[in-house]
Structures are given as structure tokens and as C-alpha cells.
């Protein structure tokens, strides 16, 4: 057998394999890692809110007690620029769906005084939970902020948004979850 065609064939096969690998890789956004949490029960936590309760006392939020309505958990921080950009969208979604779903902001690696000033400047529409020690973030597998988890009425994580959310994306998902039986 002559070497020339064999070497050429081997080279073509190698290049084809390389192109296939690259083509497969370029179809995925390298910024997103599929969360293994989708479809699993949301890990429970109890966190204290920055805002006092209606009676003026401490407001403790137990995630497991939030069943029967969809829950939106938004991990954010004041030093996060995309969080500033999506905050207005989240406020609009919360005002639209606030009576049919529960919204919580979980602050990630930040100072309470900075959080309070940030929210006073940009508005607030739902409780802000302080994730001391990032334990909730670790339980949810948060890589960075913003990340938003949407939990259905049965306490199962149905979606994770990496980066800023859109009104349309959140609205269509929440409408679908709200329509599901409890």
C-alpha cells in the first residue's frame, strides 16, 4: 500500500474529528453549565430577611413552608452589574405575579448596609434574604450572580436562569407553573 493516500486519509479523519468536536462545542454557550438541580427537590433553608415582618419583628423565611405557590429565588449582590440591569425586570415580574408566586432575593457575599442602600436607590418588591456563609448558594450550586431558580408548587426546581432574566421568559414560565395543580 502506498503511504501517501493513507497519510492523507488519516489526516482528513483527524481534521474531521477535530471539526466535529469544535462544532459541537460552539453550539453551547460556554457561560452556562446545565444545573443538575433541575427536576430535583429544592434544598430547604431558613434565612432571616433584611426587612422586618408585618408586625415589625424578625422575618424568617423557611423555603419548605412556601409550597402551594411557585417560588422565585434570585441570587444577587450589590457589586454585580448584571444584577443592577435585571433588577427592574424582576421588580416588574414580581408586581405582575406577586399575588400568585413568591419572590425572594438572596444576597450573595455582600454587606447588609450596602444592600439596604442599594435597594433604597432602586426599589424593592419582595423580601431580601441574607445568605450568611453562602450556605444556601452552595446548596443550590450557585457559581456566580445573578442566578435565578424557579421552584414549582411541589417544591421542585423547574428552571435556572444564569445571568439576567427577561420579563417574557419569566412570565411564560410562571404562567405555566401557576396553571399546574398544587
Amino acid at each position: 500500500m502506498k503511504r501517501g493516500p493513507v497519510v492523507l486519509f488519516g489526516g482528513l479523519v483527524s481534521v474531521a474529528v477535530l471539526v466535529a468536536v469544535l462544532a459541537s462545542g460552539f453550539q453551547h454557550d460556554p457561560h452556562e453549565i446545565a444545573s443538575p438541580m433541575i427536576g430535583k427537590a429544592a434544598p430547604d433553608f431558613s434565612l432571616v430577611a433584611l426587612e422586618p415582618s408585618a408586625t415589625g419583628g424578625e422575618q424568617v423565611v423557611h423555603l419548605a413552608a412556601q409550597r402551594s405557590t411557585p417560588v422565585v429565588l434570585n441570587f444577587w449582590a450589590t457589586w454585580c452589574i448584571p444584577c443592577q440591569q435585571e433588577h427592574g425586570t424582576l421588580l416588574a415580574v414580581a408586581r405582575e405575579f406577586g399575588d400568585k408566586a413568591r419572590f425572594y432575593g438572596l444576597v450573595y457575599q455582600d454587606k447588609p448596609e450596602a444592600i439596604d442602600a442599594w435597594l433604597k436607590a432602586r426599589g424593592r418588591a419582595y423580601p431580601t434574604l441574607i445568605d450568611t456563609g453562602s450556605q444556601a448558594a452552595i446548596a443550590f450550586g450557585v457559581y456566580g450572580v445573578p442566578e435565578t431558580f424557579v421552584i414549582d408548587k411541589k417544591g421542585v426546581i423547574r428552571e435556572k436562569f444564569t445571568g439576567g432574566v427577561t420579563f417574557q421568559g419569566m412570565a411564560s414560565l410562571l404562567n405555566a407553573l401557576i396553571a399546574e395543580p398544587s
Binding site: 503511504r3 460556554p30 433553608f45 433584611l50 444556601a136
Partner: protein, 183 residues
């Protein structure tokens, strides 16, 4: 490609704020500490061993943290990274280890939430075998190709042209001069 993740999301500033209890905004303000930490039992079951303390706990924490990837770094383990995220994960590792969870239970707990990416070394199973066996396979294939080409080269070397009898003595002189005869 996965390493590019660190550019996808906002990460804490280089000098992140220290984890400290919140300063109360008023007398009614909350203490701002979690009342219940996430329970790993539904994910990994009850602790496999007795609680750890002291040097045993430190060694187990270090051992487990060295196998976890810092989620906001590039190629650094949780044990080696000073980032706030890595420090938080290390503290969680220490908490789990102190409760008696085994090394594999701890690794599985983080893998359940972050995915296999959190393991600094992928498990040698499934497609991951390509990572482990691929380089060795490529070396073997390369050696095979080199060997085949050398062997094939000898077999397919062009035959020498028939020597003109009139020139044969001169050809022999040339072979003698270069130290080799006709093949």
C-alpha cells in the same frame, strides 16, 4: 471551555466584604443569621462515620477540599483558593466532615448541586474515560503509525535500476567509497 464560566457571571470583588453579622438597622432589625443550614441527609443519607474534631477534622477537610474545584477560579482547588466562594465551600466541607460525613459523601453532596464540574478530577467512567485513556491511546496510535511507516518504507523502497555491465566497475567503486553495497 468550561473554564470560561468564570467570565459569565459577576464574581465577588478582589477584596470582598468579610462575612460578618449584619449591623441592625433598628432595634427590631433581624440578627441576620441563618437559623437552619441546609441538611445534606436527603441527598447523601446519614453520616457514614462518627463526628470528627481536631487534627482529624483538619486533615479530612483539607483532603476533601483539595478535590473540589473553586467555582470562580481557573484550575484551583477549593483548598488552594483564597476567594470568598472557595472559603465558603471549605467551611461547608468542614461542617459536613465534622458531622461525620465521609469523603465520598461530601464530594457527592457538592456534585449534586454543582454538577461533576465541581470535581477537580473527573471520575474515570463513561465518556470521562476519553480524558483518562485518550492521551495514552493517541501515543500508541502515533507509535503505530511511525512503526508502520518505517516498516512500509523499507518494503516500498524503489528497486535499484539494473546496472549497465559497462558501468558496473565504477558503480562498485562508488559503493566501496561510501561503505555500502547494493541492497
Amino acid at each position: 471551555m468550561m473554564l470560561l464560566l468564570s467570565f459569565a457571571l459577576a464574581q465577588p470583588p478582589e477584596d470582598p466584604p468579610a462575612a460578618e453579622p449584619a449591623a441592625p438597622a433598628s432595634e427590631d432589625a433581624p440578627a441576620l443569621v441563618p437559623t437552619v443550614a441546609p441538611d445534606p441527609t436527603p441527598i447523601v443519607g446519614p453520616p457514614a462515620g462518627p463526628p470528627r474534631t481536631g487534627a482529624e477534622l483538619d486533615a479530612a477537610t483539607r483532603q476533601i477540599a483539595s478535590q473540589l474545584r473553586c467555582p470562580v477560579c481557573q484550575g484551583l482547588s477549593v483548598a488552594d483558593s483564597p476567594s470568598e466562594s472557595a472559603v465558603a465551600i471549605k467551611k461547608e466541607v468542614e461542617r459536613l466532615a465534622s458531622l461525620g460525613y465521609s469523603e465520598e459523601q461530601c464530594l457527592f453532596y457538592f456534585e449534586a448541586s454543582y454538577g461533576e464540574f465541581i470535581r477537580l478530577e473527573p471520575k474515570a467512567e463513561g465518556l470521562n474515560l476519553l480524558v483518562w485513556g485518550g492521551p495514552a491511546a493517541l501515543v500508541l496510535v502515533g507509535l503505530g503509525i511511525v512503526g508502520w511507516m518505517r516498516l512500509g518504507g523499507r518494503k516500498t523502497a524503489p528497486a535499484r535500476a539494473a546496472v549497465d555491465p559497462a558501468l558496473a566497475p565504477y558503480v562498485e567503486q562508488v559503493y566501496a567509497a561510501v561503505g555500502r553495497g547494493p541492497s
